[in-house]
């Protein structure tokens, strides 16, 4: 594993959807990123200590650029949201295991809320492999949906909690209309749990579902053991080393914790 600690320069800061920020940075590791991998980003907010883990939203081999999409949930992300073109960022990564994109047939990507942040690069890579891709997007309200054009080549289906766009209800409800050979999921733990329940009902094998986990994280490299996720059969996986992208069958869904990290 080649892990690089390096400075990245912010090239652009935009608002990709309501309540979210997208930072585009120039980074030497851009070409080496697998969709679903993450970086530990150093934050300079007063009285904070740990780096913050963020999945790369996308990366471009040709331009050497990496995008991160996030919302403000605490002091660290608030500091990060105040970075602008020309600012430097301290990046450790890329870290962890990305999604395994191997396979044939239709791929379904399903995102709840800010879980969408990992998918622009995943969809791009799947489309590049010539696979039919459905992107299922869930948000509280229409304004919080990442625009459809970020998923070029994919069929985009939408669900909102308030019914302001697409299906009125959970994004998981959209699974019934799909016939995936692989599922790629990211979102709050209750949504992932609902997805697993729905997959069982639809007889979609859990071995065909990969989830990108989000847990509190200390080091990001396997030393602090802070990012434990319950493993099927007992014990724990480490989100940072065994994940963040893991097959749903490897997790003990009865013991999953809805973890929060600011």
């Amino acid at each position: 594993m080649t892990v690089v600690i390096d400075t990245a320069v912010v090239l652009d800061r935009t608002t990709p959807m309501a309540g979210a920020v997208e930072l585009v940075v120039s980074h030497q590791s851009a070409a080496a990123i697998e969709p679903g991998q993450f970086f530990q980003i150093g934050v300079g907010a007063a009285h904070t200590l740990l780096r913050r883990p963020y999945s790369a939203a996308w990366s471009s081999r040709s331009s050497g650029r990496v995008g991160f999409i996030f919302n403000v949930v605490g002091a660290g992300s608030a500091w990060l949201a105040n970075r602008h073109a020309g600012h430097e960022l301290d990046l450790l990564g890329p870290l962890g295991r990305g999604f395994d994109l191997e396979g044939d047939g239709p791929a379904v990507c399903i995102a709840g809320g800010l879980g969408v942040a990992v998918f622009p690069g995943v969809v791009e890579a799947l489309v590049a492999r010539g696979r039919p891709v459905a992107m299922l997007l869930g948000a509280r309200t229409a304004a919080q949906l990442l625009p459809e054009e970020r998923f070029a080549g994919a069929e985009v289906l939408v669900a909102t909690d308030d019914g302001s766009a697409g299906h009125h209800g959970s994004v998981v409800d959209l699974m019934a209309a799909t016939t995936p050979s692989n599922v790629f999921a990211c979102g709050p733990t209750p949504m992932l749990q609902a997805l697993v329940d729905e997959a069982r009902r639809l007889e979609i094998p859990l071995s065909s579902i990969q989830v990108a986990l989000e847990t509190p994280m200390g080091c990001g490299v396997g030393t602090c053991l802070g990012c434990a996720a319950p493993r099927r059969g007992g014990g724990y996986l480490l989100t940072c080393q065994d994940g963040p992208c893991v097959r749903a069958e490897r997790l003990d869904w009865s013991r999953m914790t809805d973890a929060f990290h600011g």
Binding site: T215, P216, G220, G222, T223, C224, L225, A228, F260, G262
Partner: protein, 313 residues
């Protein structure tokens, strides 16, 4: 007058032949077993202190295991480790080929547990010493070994008999009188003490109205505890004859120098390893620069007031 090109002598002797090339160690639980940390220049390290190791493998606590707090973090990992057989069979042969020394941190539920680990590691070329985590509860009576001088001494004495390895006892600050515990383990045969382990703390998730950690309380580390750690080190260095290894919130060379000036013979970097894996190199270089600039040729000249150790040398 040494020239600027001279590198001061950074080596440190922690007793029983445990001589380290630099006074900068990495603390237990912040460096795994030395295999995972990224791009680290090991040449700056005096030693790696491993994750706490028990006789049998442990799965650790249910999540959530960590939470950030102001200038610190709480952890309740639960001694997740692969057990001493795995450590001796899989890790130790590799350590024996490294040029950095490895000190195994030992934990357990009973004196027998500690003795079992110590016996298994005795005589292995890749193990340079043991550090006893005495913050563990003794299942026999529920009391932590480290909170009662007599119990801490019994444990130290039993492990001392089980191994010829240099023995460091890591003191818990969650006590009324840390010096009394330090003196007790010194008398029982400890070659050095390390101080301090984490402070017990709690953080509450106001949004969800529940504790942040699944175990409710956890160990507080990071810059938040540095002045508390310095207080403990200052007291211990004045009262003990054996070397004191300072631990607690060190991020920079300046932080490390505070501990060395307070009387520590060496320091351990902990939480900072999660944030800046290159910190040990920076701290080591910074200590050398300071010594060069201020004309110190050896570490033992640094303490502000002579401890008994320094007076003896």
């Amino acid at each position: 007058m040494p020239s600027m090109a001279d590198r001061p002598d950074l080596s440190v002797d922690l007793g029983r032949g445990l001589r380290l090339r630099t006074p900068v160690l990495v603390a237990s639980g912040t460096f795994g077993y030395g295999f995972d940390a990224p791009s680290v220049d090991r040449s700056a390290l005096g030693a790696i202190v491993t994750k706490g190791t028990t006789p049998l493998a442990r799965e650790g606590n249910a999540p959530t295991r960590i939470a950030e707090t102001p200038s610190g973090m709480l952890n309740a990992i639960g001694l997740q480790n692969p057990g001493v057989e795995h450590v001796a069979g899989e890790y130790e042969p590799t350590w024996a080929t490294w040029d950095v020394r490895v000190i195994v941190n030992v934990a357990g539920d009973s004196i027998d547990d500690y003795v079992t680990v110590a016996r298994r590691l005795n005589g292995l070329a890749g193990v340079a010493g043991l550090e006893l985590n005495i913050s563990c509860p003794n299942v026999a009576n529920g009391l932590q070994f480290g909170v009662e001088p007599g119990l801490a001494a019994d444990l130290t004495r039993a492990v001392r008999r089980a191994t010829e390895l240099p023995l460091i006892v890591k003191l818990t600050p969650n006590v009324t009188d840390i010096v009394a515990v330090g003196k007790a383990v010194e008398a029982a045969g400890a070659d050095a003490v390390s101080a301090i382990n984490t402070y017990v703390g709690v953080a509450i998730d106001v949004r969800r109205r529940r504790p942040m950690l699944s175990r409710i309380s956890g160990g507080l580390s990071g810059p938040a505890i540095k002045p508390l750690a310095l207080q403990a080190v200052w007291q211990l260095a004045a009262e003990l004859t054996i070397p004191v290894i300072g631990i607690g919130g060190i991020r920079t060379a300046s932080d490390a120098l505070e501990f060395l000036l307070a009387g520590a013979a060496a320091v351990q970097l902990g939480t900072v390893n999660y944030v800046r894996p290159q910190a040990a190199r920076e701290v080591c270089d910074g200590i050398a620069d300071y010594m060069r600039i201020h004309g110190f040729q050896a570490l033992r000249a640094l303490p502000l007031r002579p401890s008994r150790e320094v007076a003896r040398v």
